[in-house]
Amino acid sequence: MMEITEGSHAVAEAVRLCRPQVISAYPITPQTHVVEALADMVANCQLDAEYITVENELSALSACIGASAAGSRTYSATTSQGLALMFEVCFNAAGMRLPIVMSIANRALGAPLSIWNDQQDSISLRDSGWLQFYAEDNQEATDLHYIAYRVAEDHSVLLPAFVCFDGFILSHTYEPIDMLSQEDIDRFLPEFTPYERLDAADPISFGMYATPDYYLEFRYEMDRALKESKAIIQNTGKEFARMFGRDYSAMVEGYRLEDADTAIVALGSICGTTKDSIDEMRDEGKKVGLLKIRVFRPFPTEDVAKALAHVKRVAVLDKNISLGAKGAVALEVKDALYSSGIPVKDYIIGLGGRDVRKKDIKAIVALVEKGQGDMFYGLRTEVL
C-alpha cells in the first residue's frame, strides 16, 4: 500500500514486518526515530518483541549478540558515534556468525562534533565482516531490510548486516513508499532458524579462543562466507522481484551507462541527485552515466569491472575519507579496474552534511574530463 512516510518511520515499519523477537537500542543523540517508533509498536502490542533498553550502544549490540545466540531474530539501529562505540562488538557479532540486522542512518563522526550526513561511520567498519547495503531512497531502505534478514540468516552466510540509509537526507525525509503487508513479508521471510543456539540443556560456547594454529582459518571462513553471499544476495533479490516487482538482484546498478564515456560511481542517496544531473547533461549531449553500488560488502569487484569496461573515465564520489589515503569506494573501484587502464579519479564530497547539488555533479564531470581529481571537492579555501 502506498504511504507517505518519514524515512525512519518507514524503516521501523519494515522492521516490524520482519518480526524481530529482540530489539535492543540506546537512542542517544545522534539517533533517528527508528527505535523510538519500534518502542511504540512494542508498547502498543503491534509487535511481539522483547525491547531491551540498555546503558549505551556497546551494550545494545551486546544484548543482540546474546539474544541472537539464544536463537532470536534480533535488531538494532544506530549511527555515527553510537556505531563507533559498537566497534568491538561488531567484530564479535560477525566472528560468532550471528545474523543480526542493524540499520545505520549514516552520519559523520566527531570530532569536530557533527550530527549531519556522510558515510564515514559504516565505511569505517568495512573490515568487520558485516554485509553492507546502501539505499538510494526510502523505498529501497525499507526493502533492503527484508532482503538483509533473508541473506544474513541463510546458513551458508550467517553474518550480520548493516542496512545503511543517509542520515537526514533519507531518515528525516517524507517520501511515498509502497509498504508491503505482513502477509507479503511472511511469505518472503521465513521464521529464523538458528544454525546453533544457546540451550541450557545442551550447553555451547560461541566465539571461543583460537590459537595461532586456527585463527587464520576462522578469518578465511568468514571471508569465504562473505564472498559466497554474493550469489545468495542475487537470488534473494530475484525472488523479491518476482514477488513484489522491485528488482534488487544486482549488487551494482547502471543508469544511462550503456553508451557513457564518463561514469560516476556512488553509493546511497547521492545517486538520486546524480541521476537528475545526468539527465540534464545528456540533454546537453554529454555521454555521462552512473554506476550505483548497492552492496559495498561483499564488494562486487567483478560486477564493477564488467559494468565499467567500456567507459573512458570514472569519477568516484566518496562521502568518506580514509585519511592519509583516499575514499574507500575509489580504492575498491581502482582495484576492480586495475588492469583496464581506465583512469579513475576520486572526489571527497559532502562530508559532515555539506550539500551536494546537481551543479556540483556537473562540475565533477568537467574535472574528470580534464583529468583532475583525487581531491576534496568544494573546499572552501578561503577558510583554510
Partner: protein
C-alpha cells in the same frame, strides 16, 4: 575436520585443548643430576610434571606450555630449556 562455525564449542574443551602446542622452549630433564626432590612437580603451574619410574619425575609434553619455572627453580640445575623444532 571442518572448523566449528563461529568458533563454537561444547563444554569440556579444555580437555581437548593440548596446551603443549603453545611451547617454544621445552624442558629436558637430566636424570644424572636429578635428586628426586620433587620441587619441579610442586611448582609446575600446569600440574603436568608427574612421577614416572623409580620416583623420577617427567613432564607431560602434551600439556607443558614451556614456561620454564621448573628449570628456574630446580636446585640441582637438572632441567634445561631447549628451543623446540616444530
Amino acid at each position: 575436520m571442518a572448523l566449528a562455525v563461529g568458533c563454537r564449542g561444547r563444554p569440556g574443551k579444555s580437555r581437548d585443548n593440548k596446551t603443549g602446542s603453545w611451547r617454544v622452549f621445552k624442558p629436558v630433564f637430566d636424570r644424572e643430576k636429578c635428586t628426586k626432590c620433587g620441587l619441579c612437580m610442586t611448582l609446575c603451574p600446569e600440574g603436568c610434571i608427574h612421577e614416572t619410574v623409580e620416583d623420577f619425575v617427567d613432564p607431560d609434553y602434551t600439556y607443558c606450555k614451556g614456561c620454564g619455572i621448573c628449570a628456574e627453580e630446580c636446585p640441582g640445575e637438572a632441567i634445561e630449556m631447549k628451543q623446540e623444532e616444530k
